[in-house]
Symmetry: D2
Subunit: 151 residues, 4 copies
Amino acid sequence: MTDQSDQSDPIAGSSSCQIELRVRYAEVDQMGAVHHSRYWVYFEMGRTELLRRQGVAYADLEREGVLFVVAKCSAKFLAAARYDDLLTLTTRIVRMGAARIDHEYELRRTAGGQLLCTAQTTLACLDRSGQIAAIPDNIRGRHEENGDIAS
Amino acid sequence: MTDQSDQSDPIAGSSSCQIELRVRYAEVDQMGAVHHSRYWVYFEMGRTELLRRQGVAYADLEREGVLFVVAKCSAKFLAAARYDDLLTLTTRIVRMGAARIDHEYELRRTAGGQLLCTAQTTLACLDRSGQIAAIPDNIRGRHEENGDIAS
Amino acid sequence: MTDQSDQSDPIAGSSSCQIELRVRYAEVDQMGAVHHSRYWVYFEMGRTELLRRQGVAYADLEREGVLFVVAKCSAKFLAAARYDDLLTLTTRIVRMGAARIDHEYELRRTAGGQLLCTAQTTLACLDRSGQIAAIPDNIRGRHEENGDIAS
Amino acid sequence: MTDQSDQSDPIAGSSSCQIELRVRYAEVDQMGAVHHSRYWVYFEMGRTELLRRQGVAYADLEREGVLFVVAKCSAKFLAAARYDDLLTLTTRIVRMGAARIDHEYELRRTAGGQLLCTAQTTLACLDRSGQIAAIPDNIRGRHEENGDIAS
């Protein structure tokens, strides 16, 4: 693996994963902190890896015409992440509806474990025409089997 | 002026401003929509111009050791902005506390006026050491004079 | 107009244009300088506006299956652009081949005119399948009429 | 390790390193290709890791007042990198002067090894005031010991 290391998360089951990532120079602003707009890119990496761990490549989903777009998001920024910091991102599915998925995120500095940011997103599932579409069974099923997601 | 045009907003008074901006190619993802992470960059442009209209350059504030960082944010994405779209962003101060400012944002496609995104941020005022600091009087005062902000 | 102001450039004819843009906070790194990766986004804005002045929207070209991709680029960075600086970008077509266009760029601080960056790009014209394609006549013709581009 | 995996590069010695990285969704444009501006961010990651392998953290250098800025760059883009592609970046120091370092980069798709991009940069060493400064001995010495860099 690359671009982030995988860590098992026995408590959370398959609806959660952790990745590690290193802050890039270009992500930091002139205050010396990761710019708040970059965190959404990190969270998207978390979602990609969570899906991959379920055996699904989001790139394949898009090719099949299943698109997930961010419909809502919110975040609290508690402390600054700095250039070259190693960060640990926990991504968790907290709710799956017919056509939406809610994720929660926790971003910590790996060294020391300080909590830097918490966030939530709601994704909507769309078809190629941009219309709301049902989440495919092969994604939904995995979560229902695990019994940890309200459907 | 440049990089955005200014439009008077007689209803809102000096705690609100509108700017226009054009979507750049590099801001759009492979779905053909502005990536949700980019909107925060637009909102920051809105805050910069709102301050400028009050006679304050944020760049000067930082040089004087007055830093504003995003402590909380949330957004709803209603429709996609596309490459080369002209967008109209309304930025409004909705609350000013001793050391925080809350803004609201409305982003519309200029042609037709479709609402694309609404958002809120809470900024915290910090000093150079990263400690919470009182918002300087020359910023606060402008709003109190206008009588449109709860302090 | 928005996002950049247009300035006539009587010397250069229609194969050149100037735009003005303002440096955004998120474009600046922790040295306080615009990160070198961002300049390519500015240059792309210059190409979009140069085309528009010729009556062509690049967004329309892409919809018609005419894609321009950057095949080569080079730049010299002479001085730092800072947050909130107004910059003047001159974009010039210097050569147009059957399937390529070479542009040159000069980026100056508007106040004082200091030269910050010079750059060159070579674009290749592709069709939707990614194959090299001839540049459409309606783009080529404009330049040949102006007589200022080697074909 | 994280954010990229390390691979030994016995041919090149300590003036070269390889990292692996995975293309993020937000780095890809509406053609489905990594936007040319993002590659410079990858190359910067390569330089950071090459320095780290020499026992130097660039973040520490900056804190000590040793700044490296990109003075010149050039690239050829040969094939598109796509979302979720694993890429292998080779970063090599090819020349070290009194106050400048020249790097070369080769970026390949890990699967299959297709060459996607080659590039060069020249970094200038500056002090905190922005003046050209001699490259510190602890960086220079490592390369001279290795005997593989013209000084």
